[in-house]
Amino acid sequence: MDKEINIGDTISKGDVPNDITMNSSPFSKKIKQSTRIKESLIKYFFAINGTAALIFIILIFIFLFKEGFRAFEHIQLVDFIYHNRLAEDGTSSKVFEWFPTSDEARYSLIPLILGTLLTAIPATILSTILGVGAGIYLAEIANPKAKEILKPIVELFAGIPTVVLGFLMLVVGASFFNDLLNPTNRLNAFIAALGLSFVVIPIIASLTEDALHSIPNDLRMASYGIGATKWQTISKVILPAATSGISASILLGFGRAIGETMIVLMAAGNAANITSNIFQSVRTMTATIAAEMGEVSQGSDHYFALFFIGIVLFTITFFLNLIAEVIINKMRKKNTF
């Protein structure tokens, strides 16, 4: 405690400061100079640490681009879309292939992007159905006692390591669906999407629950007050009011599905097919980086191309997160009266 602050002063001025910062305190003169310096040093120390997250985001940005843009030393931007193959008779044809290790290296990202979408979109659709349903159940239907047990279950679900899910899809899921559906390839986009949805469901469920929870109770009471049933209240009042929050949760879930690595690496089959057949093997952007970065020689075109995939991934998820964040912030502002 600082003995030099005069308590009598405090009372006589009748204005108790709730925030004694060095500059704003009306009694600043009575605080020892050394204490003041110490306090401001501490403040700057925390301020430097406070920017850590921002600094790391910027560092990720800088170092991904620093390595990734060196790909353009030898690869054209169009090479990331298609490769011009010259036939014997001089005609050229466009090939969309990812084949960086061959003599005639092909760097088209199209099969990888399509592979990512073919796993992420079905996963997000499935997770939206299950996750939003579970979120509505948690927020509106389950009684408080049950909720206390059920909510931690969703959190536990989110805590399963992705490599465990990938492993299970590989050894259990693939065999099961191989017998049941007779897919084109044993490991395919469908299996991977199923595994991904285990990751995305808890995200969508808990964020939907948050969104519904943040809706003022007055709305519910008003709806019940004019004689609406629970179902009418949920469908006509609560859900329309929570649309933005729920769509933000779906966006975040989609971003997570795009960025997930281990499940697609283990269960999607890792063949860079261009296909719309969900039962065929595909290769995603994340799996490509994970599978090839270990073997590539540092400083080669292939190496920089993998960093370029990292840039694409980072950019997509960055904007998805940013949009979701803006939506959530708007929702918070709207729901605080």
């Binding site: 406070g50 850590a52 465990v164 050894v171 469920a205 994970a290 993998l306 960093f307």
Partner: protein, 316 residues
């Protein structure tokens, strides 16, 4: 009574409510299936020998001790890096910073960092920690190739960045839940801002911070993609330990410069790259059971902590 009757006449509502109930039940069944499958298949493998011995015979027999040790070592260093940074960052955001555009950008950055794909963290660790920090350290200290290669310390550093948002967010929540009246009381006694934070705010926020720490450890232990090219090894006969000697007195320490085995990576390797995946199937389930037990125990502890913490706060 009439309201109750009306509820049952509302058929679409009846269907809807039971559909959501069914969806939730499906979720629980899925989780139960995962757990039961792993426990049933993995339980027979678990023995003291499995936990405490190294892999033998080209990783088709033996235990997983080096992988467990590596996981503990990496997450320990990770939390050592991430915890102070995360707590200080949250203290700044909650206690010092005013609501300005800049702090809003920082908050957005925290949320965005949480959404960066884990494989991108791997690339970042490679590009920043190994190739930039490590290589430059080597050049400055003239150590040849000591720092500029995949090693335990770079994996821990990268994972520390990955779990930083978890620690910041849970610390923020904990600090935010300390009532303003307690701060005012402290100021009223003449305490300075730092004294208030140190003696009043932080002690009350401790359980919340602990929750975040546990969640961060569990997340770090389960991540595989970032450590793929940051020093996780297929198989290492020796543990990453170095003896730190002061005269005759030696203490074994985690060697941050070596490669390491990692439980999550070990599962991936056994399942996809091993010479005989069918023969090692029991080992795979055993390793998975160990990993999932570890993460679940951590998660359950965190959930119980948070539950108690919120109850205490509710009473205030």
């Amino acid at each position: 009574m009439s309201i109750l009757l009306k509820k049952h006449k509302d058929i679409s509502g009846f269907i809807f409510i039971n559909v959501t109930r069914l969806l939730f039940l499906m979720l629980i069944l899925m989780l139960a299936f995962i757990l039961i499958k792993i426990i049933v298949e993995g339980f027979s493998v678990i023995s003291w020998e499995f936990i405490s011995s190294e892999p033998k015979n080209n990783m088709t027999e033996g235990g997983i001790f080096p992988a467990i040790f590596g996981t503990v070592a990496v997450t320990l260093l990770m939390i050592l890096f991430a915890l102070p940074l995360g707590i200080f960052s949250a203290i700044y955001l909650n206690e010092y910073a005013k609501d300005s555009v800049f702090t809003r950008i920082i908050r957005t950055a925290v949320n965005n960092l949480a959404g960066v794909p884990s494989i991108v963290f791997g690339l970042f660790g490679l590009g920043f920690f190994i190739l930039f920090v490590g290589k430059n350290l080597d050049e400055v200290l003239q150590t040849g190739l000591l720092f500029g290669q995949p090693a335990l310390i770079w994996a821990s550093s990268t994972l520390a960045v990955l779990v930083l948002p978890i620690i910041i967010v849970s610390t923020l929540e904990a600090l935010n839940s300390v009532p303003k009246s307690h701060r005012d009381a402290s100021y009223g006694l003449g305490a300075t801002k730092w004294q208030t934070i140190k003696n009043v705010v932080l002690p009350q926020a401790r359980p919340g911070i602990l929750t975040g720490t546990i969640l961060a450890i569990s997340r770090g232990a389960g991540e595989t993609a970032p450590v793929l090219f940051l020093g996780a090894a297929f198989f290492l006969p020796n543990l990453p330990i170095v003896d730190l000697c002061f005269g005759d007195y030696c203490i074994p320490m985690i060697n941050p410069g070596e490669q390491f085995m990692y439980l999550a990576y070990h599962i991936f390797i056994l399942a996809t790259q091993s010479s005989n995946p069918t023969k090692t199937m029991p080992l795979q389930y055993g390793s998975t059971l160990v990993l999932i037990t570890l993460t679940f125990l951590l998660n359950i502890t965190a959930i119980i902590f948070r539950y108690r913490f919120r109850k205490i706060l509710g009473r205030l």
